[in-house]
């Protein structure tokens, strides 16, 4: 997204509105989770390079504001299907960096206990249904969860994410159409990071998919995906519409995938100037700066927060490395469930939901 005068004004307006909803501690949290995502993924990449991560490695570098800003609006009883660029949402909801790292390494202590790898995980006890690889299948699962909320008359929200490339798949259309017909309480976060693997926008669609929301009967809004408060504010409004029975919202977050599709991908297909332009808009640096310039944080305070988070991730990594590999017998267990166990609630650090000190992180 290019910065224009008009969008600058819009940005300012969003920030003002968000201001009403975010406390000082919320703002620290937003930065904290973004840094935690960045630090966790950097640590994972190191583990990958050290040969400790089997298979391949994927991260969401540059997209941290999206999953953090969006997930931050959720209440405990809301539900999520979190995708492969969205570690931040897992962290907000309560997955520790250690369990993430252990999962990447295929350890028993990982979220899936070694059954599944990379970002294909979700913690049932935190209300999260782990993504499948087939994109964007989780959009239908999220719609189905939203359907259950609607049928039971519960003011709850299902939130899911997908890349812009995934909108070309028929599953996406079926999910949007179904959610529109039934005005389901779903929040759909579209991450337009310019590419699907190596495929650029112009080979994915002729018209930006955010335009389509209206033709499914609900609003589509485009926001600066590298501005965590802009994402937060759009998600907050969408979740509140959903809870109020007004149906789904499609939020397109304009961003850029700052690493290759996976660690094996050298991104040779990305124009250098394009990359440089987005590099200057790093969501973490930008927000750290804003905390100081706009919200009265001391530079030292911000630095300390970043240092603390990195130290915490380091600790988590050490514990993850101690986690053993799963036992081979596990391989044939769990194909069938013996009983139904419900999803649990996720953490909800936003001050709006806060009770009894819950929600301070790390």
């Amino acid at each position: 997204m290019e910065t224009s005068d008009a969008s600058a004004v819009a940005d300012r307006r969003i920030r003002d509105v968000a201001g009403v909803h975010l406390t000082r501690e919320d703002r620290a949290d937003l930065l904290r989770y973004m840094v935690m995502m960045r630090a966790s993924e950097e640590r994972a990449l190191t583990l990958y390079k050290q040969g400790k991560v089997p298979g391949s490695f994927y991260d969401g570098r540059g997209q941290e504001a999206i999953s953090v800003g969006a997930a931050y609006v959720l209440a405990p009883e809301d539900r999520t299907c979190i995708l492969h660029r969205d570690l931040g949402a897992h962290l907000v909801r309560g997955v520790t960096p250690g369990r993430y790292l252990a999962n990447y390494m295929g350890r028993a202590g990982g979220v899936t206990g070694g059954k599944d790898g990379n970002m294909h995980f979700g913690d049932r006890r935190l209300g999260s249904v782990g993504m499948v690889s087939m994109l964007p299948d989780m959009a239908l699962v999220a719609a189905g969860m939203a359907l259950s909320f609607k049928l039971r008359g519960e003011p709850r929200v299902a939130m899911t994410f997908f890349g812009e490339g995934s909108t070309a798949n028929g599953v996406w259309h079926e999910a949007m159409n179904f959610a529109g017909i039934h005005r389901l309480p779903a929040v759909f976060v579209l991450e337009n990071n310019r590419f699907a693997y190596s495929t650029p926008n112009e080979l994915e669609f002729a018209v930006d998919p955010v335009e389509r929301a209206r033709t499914y009967g609900f609003p589509g809004v485009a926001v600066d995906g590298n501005d965590v408060e802009a994402v937060f504010e759009a998600a907050r409004e969408a979740a509140s519409r959903a809870r109020g029975g007004e149906g789904p919202t499609l939020i397109e977050c304009q961003t850029m995938r700052m690493h290759g599709h996976g660690a094996h991908d050298d991104m040779r297909y990305v124009p250098k100037e394009m990359f440089a332009r987005w590099e200057a808009r790093d969501p973490i640096d930008r927000y750290a700066e804003r905390l100081v310039t706009d919200y009265g944080f001391e530079p030292e305070e911000v630095d300390e927060l970043r240092r603390d988070v990195r130290a915490y991730v380091e600790e988590c990594a050490a514990r993850a490395l101690e986690s053993p590999m799963p036992e081979p017998e596990q391989a044939t267990e769990g194909v069938f469930a013996a009983a139904f166990e419900p999803l649990g609630d996720g953490r909800a650090p936003w001050s709006h939901w806060r009770r009894n000190g819950e929600g301070s992180a790390p």
Partner: protein, 333 residues
């Protein structure tokens, strides 16, 4: 919920069709458990292409018998979501053939979620399957073998009205995704005594439909009737094993019967290669090898799409004469 159970009118006991038994099971479970709901094309006001949910909207409301848009992926995918969030969706494919349009949701999302993440997916996918009425290549298929190559799905295929009810109730209560194959040829042609009220047939247990000493026919769905008719007409010592569940297979029941008779004919309407019959034959050839007195034979449709025109369809689907011929041949071996 108890209140609902208490006030329900008891279902009629006695004889009913296979089709009525399916409706009955569904109605019973919806009365008993408010989390059960139906999702499918034209199942609401219209009552479904085969009228399984006739009257359901009136009794349960449109919210518990949802007319889905023409999108099988959406039906199965949203059912998965509703299921993990605590409901118990029963999906109807208008014809089993359309499962190929929601295949990915079934084999990749539903089937693997518990193994991968410990999340149970209690959905039932009802699949009106099978041919014999000039439905042509897209309304006659028997897709069960696909599901056996997608670990994580349970698969049932009742042959009688009683099992149609009992297996559907068990499927709805099972915490796993269950593919429920209801053969359209049995809908109105098969009648039988069906216990009223709660009636459960355990998933995973075969049934000896007929006892005999000389040869075992292992069948399911529409082929059970063919096997029983053939056995009767031939008046020989034929044992008929009605599998009822295809996954997990009741291996012990199959092997015990074949060990006793020494001869096995595996029969189904689905096409031959990599069908359920292949799995059964392989099982028998491995684990009952020493007891076999004859080759393991299969009676199936050949590997062709199911044609429309009656003489063509008749040539392709296993007929009573084919069953008798296959039995005779194997008996004479």
């Amino acid at each position: 919920m108890n209140a609902i159970t208490a006030t329900r009118t008891p279902a009629q006991a006695g004889e009913m069709t296979y089709l009525a038994a399916i409706s009955d099971a569904l109605r019973e479970e919806m009365r008993r458990d408010p989390t059960v709901f139906c999702l499918g094309e034209d199942i609401g006001a219209f009552g479904g292409a085969f009228k399984v949910t006739d009257g359901f909207v009136q009794e349960f409301g449109a919210e518990r018998c949802i007319d889905a848009p023409l999108a099988e992926g959406a039906i199965i995918g949203t059912a998965i979501g509703a299921a993990v969030a605590g409901l118990k969706p029963v999906c109807e494919m208008q014809f089993a053939d359309f499962i190929s349009c929601g295949f990915d949701q079934l084999v990749n999302v539903a089937a693997k979620l518990h193994y991968r993440q410990g999340i149970a997916v209690p959905i039932v996918v009802r699949l009106p399957s099978g041919g014999g009425f000039s439905g042509g290549p897209f309304h006659s298929q028997n897709p069960e073998a696909w599901f056996l190559q997608a670990p994580g799905l349970k698969v049932v295929a009742p042959a009688t009205a009683s099992d149609a009810k009992g297996l559907l109730i068990s499927a709805i209560r099972d915490p796993n995704p269950v593919c429920y194959l209801e053969h359209k040829g049995l809908y109105r042609h098969v009648k039988g005594d069906v216990p009223s009220g709660e009636h459960l047939v355990p998933i995973g247990e075969a049934r000896i439909a007929r006892e005999g000493e000389e040869l075992t026919v292992i069948a399911y769905g529409s082929s059970v009737r063919l096997a029983l008719l053939a056995a009767e007409e031939l008046d020989e010592q034929i044992e008929v094993v009605d599998l009822r569940t295809l996954c997990p297979l009741d291996r012990e029941a199959v092997l015990a019967s074949v060990r006793k008779t020494g001869k096995a004919l595996v029969a189904h309407e689905a096409t031959r290669s990599c069908g359920v019959g292949a799995e059964l034959a392989a099982l028998i050839a491995d684990e009952a090898f020493e007891d076999l007195d004859a080759p393991v034979r299969r009676l199936t449709a050949p590997d062709v799409p199911i044609p429309f025109s009656p003489p063509l369809e008749h040539a392709v689907l296993p007929q009573l004469e084919d069953m008798k011929e296959a039995i005779r041949e194997l008996l004479a071996y």
